[in-house]
Symmetry: C2
Subunit: 354 residues, 2 copies
């Protein structure tokens, strides 16, 4: 299979130089968005406990704070990514200090959401595998209605996953609250506040062209996609993702790592495009599809791993372990399906190298 | 999706009438083959025990008898299928008596092979899932070499399946031996011996055209393929086959039944073509691919069911149950993959209705 490359003469690529001003504008806008989300997060009671015990009013309150936290992560990732991609145009000391702090913040904020989404995915899969056809319910435990049609094993597996992932989520929530109250966070927020008014560009940046840095981000993406086993991934039911599904090694599947890496590089490429195009950034359906497939790949891989890890809980019933085995395999097949979807998105509209 | 039909003007369809002589010739040839296989089966020691304890010499001996039993089943199925398809051309009393006896015989002979193939498939899958990359080994238990890389759960699951399926195979072997020594079998063999020299055609058969009966067999196939969910099957990773994978219902998956039915009708259609074309019957790659996919569908469905049933063994360890859950899901995905393969074969070269 010929390796695919994005064509540098693609009409979606800027033909004229883009100066450092565009970067400054983008960073200012993201910093402003960061501060807005932070305010919203405080106002919507970001400190509310996310536990099941909370009343529906508090749940509503926390829905707003979930949105705010998502927006906060979103802008933190974009600032951090742009600092990385356009490093040569920014004050190096400042950006070297800033990036790990933003990564720490978005990582800390992401964990709570990740556990909650993972539980929802796994409970949804258990319902699907039980043929209940009920909508996904990440409630305290499989709802009474759907529980009726679940086998004992599936119901117990759901309850076990719920206990483990809810505990993890509660801990992540506390950690996020603690982080948001820390002096480390206040230092980040102060830096972002400065960024909202004054971007520390290098003296040369105002007249420099952003395109080479953006092109380098794209090259890193293409270099990482190159070695992916796309030929295999393009053959449906290749059964690759479940190889090692029963191996003694409990570490995360090493075969997933290159895909996770591409996911991060695809994101950086997408942010670089946003910088180049500003407000008028056209949606690239190919990148969008590929990115969604890689998100699904990551989510399914982590859900599979959570099912395998729950199965190692001491003293569980064989029926519970069986259901977790089915669930693990199901999510690993989701991993395989996501690779197939990525391959389809990536190949479909790619412009082959002449 | 437009429903696909085999085109009656297809060049592979006989344009000129085919008389009852062709049927008589075919039945005589199959009966002769039946008697030859039966002789070979006796000569190669079809009575040898198929247990693991048997020496490699005895294993070699039984390899010949396995081939003979396969050939015996093969001709019994063809005789029985032709009696069914070309019913109007044959003495009705005789063929009504004959068919259930042939079905009993080929069913009894098939079971031993089925258990042995199922064990091989499951042990192969366990090795694959453990990432051992070892060739399939349906030995007494996972070989020492590969066992080293299996988790305890996978190794125990393999040993459990081996015990259960070997026991079932041994019983099937005894039942087959008993059948081959029974007066019921001798009556069948006598009837087949008569068939080898004299086919009981109706008086009108010699001048009748076989094609309408063959076309009816094809119609029954097309009618059964019509309602299959081929649109879903054609979307890779549709996750249909594992729906109900954890449902409380332990009966074989009802969603499999229409596919099993198509498998039988496809076989009857294939035999009818053999009757029409005789020796010069052209290979229809489409039918071949579709038939192989349906065999794989049946094998995977039965293997999945064997894994689920092993998981209901009392007092197994959770790790064993987990491995069996992974294995069950893996085989249900094989079921889904087989449906996809069938859809691909079936659609690819079908001539659409104008």
């Amino acid at each position: 299979m010929a390796q695919q490359h994005l064509d540098p003469t693609d009409p979606t690529t800027r033909a004229v130089p883009v100066s450092g001003d565009a970067l400054a504008g983008y960073l200012r806008a993201q910093a402003t968005e960061f501060l807005r989300s932070l305010r919203q997060h405080r106002e919507t009671g970001g400190g509310g406990a996310p536990t099941r015990a909370s009343s529906s009013l508090a749940e509503n309150g926390s829905a707003g704070s979930v949105d705010a936290a998502r927006a906060l992560r979103r802008s933190a990732r974009r600032i951090s990514g742009s600092l990385h991609t356009f490093r040569p145009l920014l004050d190096p000391d400042w950006s070297e200090r800033m990036r790990p702090e933003l990564a720490w913040l978005s990582g800390t904020l992401a964990r709570e959401h990740a556990y909650s989404a993972r539980l929802e995915r796994l409970i949804g899969a258990l319902n699907r595998l039980s043929g209940t056809g009920f909508p996904t319910q990440a409630g305290p435990e499989p709802s009474t209605t759907s529980k009726g049609s679940l086998t004992i094993g599936a119901a117990k597996a759901g309850a076990l996953l719920d206990r483990q992932l809810t505990l993890a989520r509660t801990r992540a929530h506390s950690a996020a609250l603690q982080a948001l109250g820390s002096s480390r966070f206040h230092a980040v927020a102060d830096s972002v506040a400065v960024l909202a008014s004054e971007v520390p560009l290098t003296p040369a940046a105002a007249t420099a062209d952003l395109r080479p840095s953006a092109a380098a981000a794209e090259s890193r993406l293409l270099d990482a996609v190159g070695p992916l086993p796309l030929l295999t991934a393009g053959h449906p039911y290749n059964a690759e993702a479940l190889v090692h599904g029963l191996s003694a090694d409990t570490a995360p599947q090493p075969q997933d790592a290159p895909w996770h890496q591409v996911r991060l590089l695809l994101r950086l490429h997408r942010y670089a495009r946003e910088v180049l195009y500003g407000e008028e950034c056209p949606v690239d359906v190919r990148l969008l599809g590929a990115g969604q497939a890689l998100n699904r790949h990551r989510d399914a891989a982590e859900a599979a791993s959570a099912a395998a890890s729950a199965a190692r809980t001491p003293r569980i019933a064989p029926a519970t372990a069986y259901a977790l085995g089915v669930l693990h395999a199901d999510q690993r097949h989701e991993v395989e399906a996501a690779r197939f979807a990525f391959q389809q998105s990536w190949q479909k509209e790619a412009v082959p190298t002449p």
